[in-house]
């Protein structure tokens, strides 16, 4: 029996994604109509009640984020939809945009209304350029129907949405690099503070949300029966989109209630391993995520249980790797990725990635020494503790978890 549910994916396949009329026919923009009769604080409180954690990876409390954004006093504010989805093995946002673009637009308008923003920006990853026409058309139709522009729904609320495409850098998924990129600068993260919630895009207070977070908003606002709260566990309320890939028979995006086991996802939804091979490892949350051996299969997929097991939800990616791939080869590939994607401005990330790459090569060749392993641990820690942004902080998550869980693969020959 499938453990998948349909809460935020309930519109999938139910309307013509190119037609706002079709969207409205299934209740589209009802949430916005409801929202404009609420205060921003009330909307934020509704999200807080649903205990939604941001779906970009960091898992920041979304109700709190919106109420803080609302509380910032400024003449002008902006909302940013982070559709950069650069974490390898993460493709849930793409699915949401492809199947329910108007819901995202509606979520962004509600976000703008809630925090008193005048402009919203969608930062779409370069590789999703095929989705540009769809989104641009959705924005245009929303404007024609008066859901964007001046005096929206007669409430004196003025708001527009702009679409920006990135140029392909992974680091631009980081909030401050993202706003730099929209501003036309090189995508390199800013130092923090100032935090973008106070001083972000064009130096304006900026509320950045992931596609999935925004896509949840309408459903939550219309969820009078609190159905959402019936999903999940005490610590992880509701549902989550996971993108499962790797050596599984049926890779794809699934909406699961928190609390199903990893086995339910990998063997149930994703159909198990190709040719029934044994699992070597599972990486959670993308390239910046940690990985675990197959003993994790019976762990419930919740924030708290995964954390206990030494991994995390992160972006919702679940990468299953079977016995045919060696841990070290896998790490080398991950390292290639970070060595390519580091922006290079801070020392720990630039030089740290460079050295870990060299050291991993030695491990792969079997020529490493105890000192090399010590250097790897040391550099990984320096990167995690002192890098300027989240990229450097998490780039060695996989390595650290591998050295812990797969000690035998690092044995000195």
């Amino acid at each position: 029996m499938s453990k998948a549910v349909c809460f935020m994916t309930k519109n999938f396949g139910k309307y013509d994604v190119k037609s706002i009329g079709s969207y409205m026919a299934i209740g589209g923009f009802d949430a916005l109509k409801k929202a404009v009769n609420m205060t921003g604080e009330e909307i934020a409180a509704t999200l807080a009640t649903a205990q939604i954690k941001g779906r970009g990876g960091a898992g920041y409390d979304m109700g709190k984020k919106w109420s803080q954004a609302k509380a910032v006093i400024a003449d002008s504010k902006v909302v940013v939809c982070n559709a950069d989805e650069g974490e390898p093995c993460t493709f849930k946002d793409r699915t949401l945009i492809e199947n329910d673009p108007f819901n995202l637009i509606e979520g962004m308008i509600i976000a703008g209304y809630t925090v008193d923003a005048q402009n919203g920006y969608i930062y779409l990853r370069e590789e999703y350029s095929h989705l540009r026409p769809l989104l641009l058309d959705a924005i245009k139709q929303a404007k024609t129907y008066g859901f964007l522009g001046e005096n929206i729904l007669g409430k004196g609320f003025n708001y527009n949405i702009h679409l920006y495409s990135g140029a392909g850098a992974y680091v631009c998924g980081e909030g401050t690099a993202l706003v730099e990129s929209i501003e036309g600068k090189s995508g390199r993260p800013r130092m923090k503070p100032p935090f973008i919630k106070q001083c972000g895009l064009y130096n304006l207070p900026t509320c950045v949300n992931n596609v999935e977070s925004l896509s949840l908003v309408s459903s939550i606002l219309l969820d009078d029966e609190k159905k959402y709260l019936t999903y999940g566990t005490e610590g992880s309320v509701g549902t989550k989109l996971v993108s499962v890939a790797g050596n599984v028979k049926n890779p794809g995006v699934f909406e699961i209630p928190f609390g199903v086991t990893v086995r339910d996802i990998v063997y149930g939804l994703a159909g198990g391993i190709v040719d029934d091979h044994e699992i070597k490892l599972i990486q959670f949350g993308g390239a910046s995520g940690k990985f675990a051996p197959k003993s994790i299969l019976d762990t419930p997929y919740t924030y708290e249980d995964l954390r206990k097991a030494g991994v995390g939800v992160g972006s919702g990616a679940i990468l299953v790797v079977d016995e045919r791939t060696s841990v070290i080869d896998f790490l080398k590939t991950t390292q290639e990725f970070f060595s390519h994607e580091s922006c290079g401005q801070c020392t720990p990330c630039r030089e740290g990635n460079r050295h870990i790459k060299l050291l991993l090569k030695k491990v792969a060749e079997g020529t490493h020494t105890a000192l090399d392993l010590a250097s790897m641990r040391k550099i990984a820690k320096i990167m995690a503790m002192s890098s300027l942004c989240g990229l450097g902080e998490t780039a060695q998550s996989a390595l650290v978890s591998a050295m812990k869980n797969f000690e035998e693969d690092f044995q000195i020959k």
């Binding site: 130092m191 290079g344 720990p348 630039r350 990635n353 503790m385 890098s387």
Partner: protein, 583 residues
């Protein structure tokens, strides 16, 4: 200003709200290691070597960029902090050309100091630095990317202080580097060779083009008559290199050192500055009287002249045609001086000691000389002179007080203040006011043109007429004036611009570690020299009067014009982006 209570290594202290951890630690005399941090620049937080532990924080925080908060408990000395700092240092070092002995910044290098401090003598990491070939022929600045630690100080000073934007970042990850547009040589970029980058670089990645060996060669050649001129700001800065108090006036020791180095004559650029005033002041009066191009803008600062040529080429006729004091001295040293001294001009080598790397370029301008004879042959920066003094082993601090030689060694107080922002203006006003009104000034101090303000303005009464003047230092500020001239909203008659912050006292060739606070001490020192000088007006300098009487006849005379004036030309940009806007 409200204050917050914090603890650093369990020591309680109160600091102003908004203070960064690094600055707070300084107050209790703890130096948190840093590389990219520079007290005169906005924060970059790139190098991460200043990371410290803050109780309650998940990660280490950069001390340079993190503001203190009420109740913050900071630890700068835990094992985690030290392991991280040393680890970062090792990472930097692994990607740094470690041939310290062959480096211009040996023993004057922030990275070397940190390695020495943390005893990082045998780094365990694989060396990944590779020689980076840069083909960048210019007389002023040498770059070596294999030494670059990517701190970004040079980029900041070029962009934020100078507004020149010649240096920027390119690439990412391992390829992240400080570069010029399209990696072009500096001369083909917007660079104006001010050398501010070289004075903020913590290591030897950007240094002045070294001419010390050239000077040693001519000094050791008995057939050469080697004379030297010293710019006004050098005497209040070079003491830094020998442990003397910042801003100390060391004119006498400096002259003695130059004589002991073997220069045949030691002369003063202050003398040439007085001549500059005679020429430039007369030119200004001429422009006012004959409706010439106004405002007239000074042209003493060679970085500034380069800037005008490259960035405001259409407004080049605002520049005074008078050469800079360095070049005026040079021209006189190759015309009047050989006659007076009875030396063959072909045997004379004119060396100048300048606070500046752009002066090296200026001396090499083809128009600066005649009949194959250059006005100035070799230019050394303050830094290079101190190297020469160390080379010959002089105990500078204990040298006797020497005196400049005649006939080009007497400069007025007005000449001395040429070394500071506002000084050329004040010197000119003293002369112009007296010549214009024909009456003696009661008060020689034009206080309104002094100080550290980026742009200073004053209205000067010239008897029946009053003129508005302005002074800018640092090219960001100069830009504002040029934009006003461009917009036609500028009603100044005379404008002084110095490319470097503070003027020559903050020049790109001054001792490393010249912070704003130190530059202000040098500024005060130059005004002290002026205040206590018997002669405080250029036109009352008897040696200048003699020069005109015996040789040049009068300011702007045919002879003066030929020797002491020049012209500049617009330089077209080497690249343009117009194709981007073409449809």
């Amino acid at each position: 200003m409200s204050t917050v209570n914090i603890k650093i290594n369990n020591i309680p202290l109160q600091v102003e709200k908004g203070t960064k951890i690094l600055e707070a630690a300084k107050k209790i005399h703890i130096d948190i290691p840093h590389l990219c941090y520079h007290p005169d620049q906005t924060i970059k937080a790139h190098c991460r070597i200043c990371t410290v532990e803050v109780v309650g924080s998940r990660r280490l925080l950069a001390a340079c960029s993190t503001e203190v908060w009420e109740g913050m408990e900071i630890h700068t000395d835990t094992k985690l902090v030290r392991d991280t700092q040393v680890g970062i240092l090792e990472l930097i070092l692994a990607n740094h050309d470690q041939n310290c002995l062959a480096c211009a910044r040996n023993q004057n290098c922030d990275l070397q100091n940190l390695c020495s401090r943390f005893n990082v003598l045998q780094p365990q990491l694989e060396r990944v630095s590779e020689p980076v070939a840069i083909k960048d022929e210019n007389p002023s600045i040498a770059r070596d990317l294999s030494k670059c630690v990517k701190c970004g100080r040079c980029v900041k000073v070029c962009n934020e202080v100078q507004g020149v934007n010649a240096l920027t970042y390119s690439g990412r990850s391992e390829d992240f580097a400080v570069t010029t547009a399209y990696n072009k040589p500096l001369l083909e970029t917007d660079c104006i060779l001010c050398g501010q980058c070289s004075s903020v670089c913590p290591v030897g990645a950007i240094v002045e083009r070294d001419n010390t060996q050239k000077v040693l060669n001519v000094l050791q050649d008995p057939s050469k008559h080697v004379i030297v001129q010293v710019a006004p700001s050098v005497r209040v800065a070079i003491g830094d290199e020998f442990g003397l108090p910042r801003g100390a006036i060391v004119t006498g020791k400096m002259v003695t050192a130059l004589k002991m180095l073997g220069f045949d004559k030691v002369f003063d650029t202050n003398f040439a500055a007085d001549v500059t005033i005679m020429e430039e002041g007369t030119e200004l009066l001429d422009r006012i009287k004959n409706s010439g191009k106004l405002p007239m803008i000074t042209s003493c600062s060679s970085g500034w002249v380069n800037y005008m040529e490259k960035h405001y080429g259409d407004y080049i006729d605002h520049l005074s045609s008078a050469k800079s004091p360095q070049q005026i001295f040079g021209a006189i040293s190759k015309s009047y001086y050989p006659e007076v001294a009875g030396v063959d001009v072909k045997d004379i080598v004119t060396v100048s000691i300048m606070p500046c790397v752009a002066k090296k370029f200026e001396a090499n301008r083809p128009e600066m000389g005649r009949d194959g004879i250059k006005d100035v042959d070799i230019v050394l920066t303050t830094r290079e002179l101190s190297k020469l003094i160390k080379y010959v082993g002089l105990d500078f601090a204990n040298l006797d007080e020497g005196s400049f030689d005649s006939p080009l060694g007497l400069g007025s107080g007005a000449g001395a203040i040429f070394g500071t922002s506002g000084g050329v203006m004040e010197a000119a006003l003293r002369t112009v006011a007296e010549v214009y009104t024909g009456t003696e000034l009661k008060n020689l101090d034009f206080k309104e043109v002094r100080g550290w303000e980026g742009i200073k303005e004053a209205e000067i009464n010239l008897g029946d007429n009053s003129v508005k003047v302005a002074i800018a230092h640092g090219l960001r500020n100069a830009q504002k004036i040029m934009e006003a001239i461009k917009a036609g909203t500028c009603d100044y008659t005379f404008v002084e611009v110095m490319a470097c912050p503070g003027g020559c006292i903050g020049g790109g060739g001054q001792p490393i570690q010249s912070t704003t606070d130190i530059k202000k001490l040098r500024m005060d020192a130059l005004y002290d020299i002026d205040q206590t000088h018997i002669i405080r007006k250029s036109h009352e300098n008897p040696d200048v009067t003699a020069l005109y009487k015996n040789y040049l006849e009068a300011p702007l005379s045919h002879k003066a014009h030929k020797l002491l004036h020049t012209s500049y030309k617009k330089i077209e940009k080497q690249y343009n982006f117009s194709y981007l806007t073409k449809k």
